[in-house]
């Protein structure tokens, strides 16, 4: 995604609120915070993100960067200016690689990583972190002065450019409202510079002011934003560019064409993701034509992978270069860094920064789960395919009476809906299998492990073949909201694959044997699958808990190159129980049997992306357990996991 239209890179201005509002702790849930510790102030978190960004980009890029802070003095005077200090104290913009080479100072931090033994408490390691920006918040937020200063800064920078340049990026991070008047005019003037598709891109990031309120991320429909700050911010933010939307799409953050580069009530993971998007944007810029050898000694970085040759339009720097510059023409992916990574951790959408300079020191943002990495398995050799097996419990409490509370009819409907969705979104990557179990009229266990109807006899069916292979197709008219507060009817096609009678309760042993057998067979035929096999057990709750736990092991013991088997539970209870979706703990489960199911349920695939795009519904450690609700994120999660390069 090279910007072929420009000869020169643009510049990046971090415009940062340094008012006393930034001295307040970040307003978000930090489940990994050690007890007794409170979250660090906003300024510390934001400066950490900026410092980390500078370190990452400075490794192999050279566009001009500056940090403009704004606050007021005790006397109430606006204090707005470039905060680059140390070796560059009198400079406005500095090439980021030069900046990276000379930090203001270095700080010792303690980083918590998972215990290498695989169990036990996390291990604490001291590390040093370079610092370029260390704000001291005070006073109020003179936003008008800040934006006017930016305009003047840009005037000077643009005058110094010799040739066409990529659009400058202004990343505004703030918590407080403007104290020196409405900044609307100042910002509009910035947005309107240069006409429609030229001029700087302004991104506004408002930091969370309420822990429980979810962040508003890249909104595209101005109508639905509440009047006031959010609508104003929308008007003051540039639309996301195509390349930015592409980057976000790769991270499974869907955006609409009119999405604004704006975050409201952002939590640090949202900020981290936005910074990574800016990073990707900058990496797509051309390099400066002047030779700039990075002054970083090469031993700080492990050797680059094989595709680091300056093929795809990257400029090679002079021969004494100590680190080549890699530009991948597939565009920068948020999932995996192509630049020399200083860690081997898997990119995690909820992990603000997966590199070992865990700048949220003392408050581990996300304990990286090394079990999720695939050591020794370069992504290129794993094939994007996977197996999803539906294990269906046909039992009901009383098969001879027709009851509204009977579980199997509802579960069967869910199973058919899940298969319908798989067929509709089919792209040839997934295979499906179904195993149902019950008892027959003679009381013998009845396990069926193949499809019926046109697909009769097949155990594994490709997702593309599902729709054609349904037992039958139902066309119903359903009511949906019409967008104006009314309902409208639309036709809906449902493909039916299962139409089996409810049965008396059956033991789980044979069903689990059959499921394990199928999974093992598929895995041996697809050793290079990039997705671990997924089993979704649709059940009304295990009759014999201990037996189920025991027999489950043959499933949970299955390990493939892509990871261990993922076991989900979709439960419809026959006794009333509150609905629970993707829980991170078992506190909402009222019965021991359900708590047991929680223990056996694997973490939800795709939760890294889903916990960022749907933070109120999916926590970072959500499990694949749904009770008395739809498993609406099953396919979203699996597709996110398939898209993830690290699988």
């Amino acid at each position: 995604m090279m910007n072929q239209d420009f000869q020169l890179p643009g510049c990046v201005i971090f415009l940062v609120d340094e008012s006393s509002a930034m001295d307040v702790p970040i307003q978000e849930d930090l489940p990994n915070l050690p007890p007794g510790q409170s979250p660090r102030p906003r300024a510390a978190n934001v400066s950490a993100a900026i410092n980390s960004w500078i370190r990452r980009l400075g490794a192999d890029r050279d566009p001009d960067v500056t940090i403009v802070g704004y606050k007021t003095s005790k006397e109430g005077e606006a204090v707005v200016g470039c905060r680059l200090d140390g070796a560059f104290g009198d400079h406005e913009f500095v090439p980021v690689n030069d900046l990276a080479a000379t930090p203001l100072r270095e700080e010792e931090r303690v980083q918590r990583r998972p215990n290498p033994a695989g169990f036990g408490p996390p291990v604490e390691e001291p590390i040093t972190i370079p610092i370029w920006y260390a704000p001291e918040p005070e006073g109020k937020a003179p936003q008008v002065a800040a934006f006017e200063f930016c305009a003047e800064l840009l005037d000077r920078w643009e005058a110094a450019q010799e040739g066409s340049y990529a659009r400058p990026l202004i990343v505004h991070v703030f918590a407080a409202g403007s104290a020196d008047g409405n900044p609307h005019k100042a910002i509009s003037q910035l947005l309107e510079r240069g006409g429609d598709d030229a001029g700087p891109l302004v991104m506004n990031i408002h930091l969370s002011s309420a822990k429980l309120v979810p962040s508003t991320v890249y909104p595209s429909n101005r109508y639905y934003l509440p009047p006031g700050v959010m609508k104003d911010l929308y008007d003051r933010s540039s639309p996301l560019t195509e390349s930015q939307r592409h980057t976000l799409r790769l991270a499974n953050v869907p955006t609409n064409p009119k999405a604004a580069a704006m975050l409201y009530n952002a939590k640090m993971p949202d900020v981290a993701q936005a910074f990574k998007m800016i990073e990707a944007e900058v990496r797509a810029w051309p390099q400066k034509p002047v030779e700039l050898a990075p002054t970083l000694p090469v031993d700080d970085f492990p050797p680059l992978s094989g595709d680091d040759l300056p093929g795809d339009g990257a400029e090679t720097v002079n021969d004494d270069e100590t680190a080549t510059i890699a530009v991948s023409d597939r565009g920068y992916s948020l999932e995996k860094s192509d630049s020399p990574p200083v860690s081997t951790t898997v990119e995690d959408g909820s992990d603000a920064d997966s590199l070992p300079d865990n700048v949220w020191s003392g408050e581990s943002f996300e304990i990286v789960d090394e079990a999720e990495t695939v050591p020794g398995n370069p992504a290129a050799t794993l094939l994007k395919e996977g197996l999803v097996l539906l294990l269906c419990d046909r039992s009901v409490a009383d098969p001879y009476s027709v009851s509204d509370t009977a579980a199997w009819p509802k579960l069967q409907e869910r199973a058919n809906a899940i298969l319908t969705q798989a067929g509709k979104a089919a792209d040839g990557r997934l295979e499906l299998a179904v195993v149902t179990y019950g008892v027959d009229g003679a009381g013998e266990t009845d396990v069926r492990a193949t499809f019926e109807g046109p697909l009769v006899g097949q155990s594994f069916v490709k997702d593309e073949a599902l729709t054609e292979g349904a037992l039958r197709v139902e066309e119903n008219w359903i009511q949906v909201p019409d967008g104006t507060g009314g309902l409208t009817s639309i036709p809906q096609t449902e493909t039916i694959f299962l139409e089996q009678e409810p049965s008396a309760p059956a033991g789980t042993e044979e069903a689990l044997n059959a499921a394990a057998g199928l999974v093992n067979q598929w895995c041996s035929e697809h050793p290079d699958a990039c997705l671990p096999p997924v089993v979704v057990h649709l059940t009304r709750g295990p009759g014999d808990r201990e037996a189920y736990h025991q027999h489950c092991q043959q499933l949970t013991d299955i390990n493939t190159a892509a990871g261990s088997l993922v076991l989900y539970h979709l439960v419809v209870t026959e006794q009333p129980h509150r609905s629970v979706s993707y829980p991170a703990d078992d506190s909402q489960l009222e019965w021991p049997g359900l708590q047991g199911l929680f223990e056996l349920s694997s973490p939800l695939l795709g939760r890294e992306e889903l916990s960022v795009s749907k933070p109120t519904i999916v926590a970072a450690d959500a499990r694949g357990l749904v009770l008395n609700a739809k498993f609406d994120l099953l396919w979203d999660g699996i597709r996110a996991a398939l898209a993830d390069d690290s699988y």
Binding site: A210, Y223, P227, K410, V480, P481, D482, T484, P576, I617
Partner: protein, 285 residues
Amino acid sequence: MYSQEISRQTPACFLFLLDQSYSMIEPLGGNESVRKCDQLALAINGWLQNMIIRASGESGVKDWLEVGVIGYRTDDQGNPIIESCLRGEIGDSWLQPISKINDHPLRIDQLNQQMWDEDLGEMTELPVEMPVWVDPVAEGGTPMCSVLHLAYGIFEEWIANHPNCFPPILVHITDGESTEGDPIPYADPIQSLATDDGNVLIFNGHLSMTAADPIYFPATDEVMPEELARVLFQMSSVLPDSLRERATAEGFDMQPNGRGMVFNADMIGLLQFLDMGTRVAKNLR
């Protein structure tokens, strides 16, 4: 019972109580792109527009209905904020005649109405202009007892002035528990208010953040999955036969003794729930 005709001389009375607590900013029905507060405002505005259309005749909008829309929440000190969601000229009293509501929308918004196009075989969008009376609000806690207490007073006064009319209907929409303690002692007195045509009806709609299984018009509290559902069940009136029969005629699976309550609703559930109120309009003359 519940058979009085509805006319300008014997108008009906609807009072909406809308939860405006913090949590209403959460998604509705598992759809992260729509928030409960926004969808609720959209639904209420749609309902008002619908009733205005039904009340319209050749000589304008007939005042067969008096409507109140009250939002309840708390400030950051926990003090209840209870105010009419109808603003400006129609914010001067708790109940407003429908013609006056028609005359004073807050503004007109352009929305896209989705419809199924048979010929194209796909959904199409048509821009429509919709009047807006209620805007979304989400802040603070849930002072359910205070707002029910207010509703009691409003109905008591209305009934004193309309002793022969179809009984007032209270439509309460919430997404969570009362933060002021047990609301049942405040709901019971409301249900004991009555006109000659029957007791006041209370309908309760509960909104779910996730794609939870909805429960429509339950007949027994044995299927209530949690305490909040049991409380709302107790606060909900049994549907009068006339309303139940009309719903059944439209294809709903209604049980005898089904109550005017929906639990774990998404937008579809909310709209179908609000429709139950409009069935009263069948009594319109």
